[in-house]
Symmetry: C2
DNA sequence: CTTGACTATGGACTAAACTCTATAGTTTAG
DNA sequence: CTAAACTATAGAGTTTAGTCCATAGTCAAG
């Protein structure tokens, strides 16, 4: 898959993807004879994961750690297990924070309903 | 509560809090006679919410919208309900993304366990 | 062949979100 | 009282994460 296609598929711009390649966030794509990049499925998965993690407030540094863990196969299984568990904990922390935020909004919405009910009550 | 205390309570630096004040992300704190800021509970709640939302990938612009919704009391209930519902949807989207990320990590961890099991199997 | 759409590159530029600097007043503990 | 720790300010400086620019090769359709 070439650059324009992958822009569409991932929602990331060419420049952003190039930036990620330069920062070693993704596997270096193979090149055709004309110098064009070809992105295989693995890289697409990486980019989708980056896009997702970015939207969740992970820094590129953190995301890089994650992609190394998930896609590079350079770590020993023991090391990987340890690091993945840490990442999992970070995610649980964010899940908690999101739930808290959601609760706050639900509370405000509930307050609005009660306010409305008061307006409508006889 | 004065600045150093609030730094500790929120995990945000003085400069960051000042920045948020300047950007109108928080209610302007009252001042003592000596010019020192005093932060009441409402502001502490605001700062904690900002800290949380920031860690979840919301931009300061988005966070500002949220604090207006939750803390300012300037919007009509109908408008508020609409906007809060939108924010709630955004959070649900992030919850989904987090779950997907967590699944990917769990899958990798599971793969490691199975790899270990294979090593240990007779 | 031509033209427009695609691709590439390196490096300059931008925006968001702080962080630091220089200066100076106030508080607190010894 | 003294010195260190606290507070304040405005504006300059830094970091992160892209985005743009200028240039030029390649592809595809007419």
């Amino acid at each position: 898959m070439r650059t324009k296609d992958i822009e569409e598929k991932t929602g990331l711009t060419r420049d952003t993807i190039r930036f990620y390649e330069k920062e070693n966030l993704i596997t270096i794509p193979r090149r055709a004879d004309n110098g064009y990049r070809y992105y295989d499925d693995k890289i697409i998965r990486q980019l989708k994961m980056i896009s997702r993690a970015k939207a969740l407030g992970f820094t590129l540094k953190e995301i890089k750690e994650l992609t190394v863990l998930l896609y590079s196969g350079e770590l020993t299984p023991t090391k990987m297990a340890g690091e993945l568990s840490k990442k999992r904990d970070e995610i649980d922390e964010k899940l908690l924070k999101l739930s808290e935020l959601k609760s706050e909004i639900d509370k405000a919405l509930k307050g609005l309903c009660e306010y409305k009910d008061e307006l409508n009550s006889p």
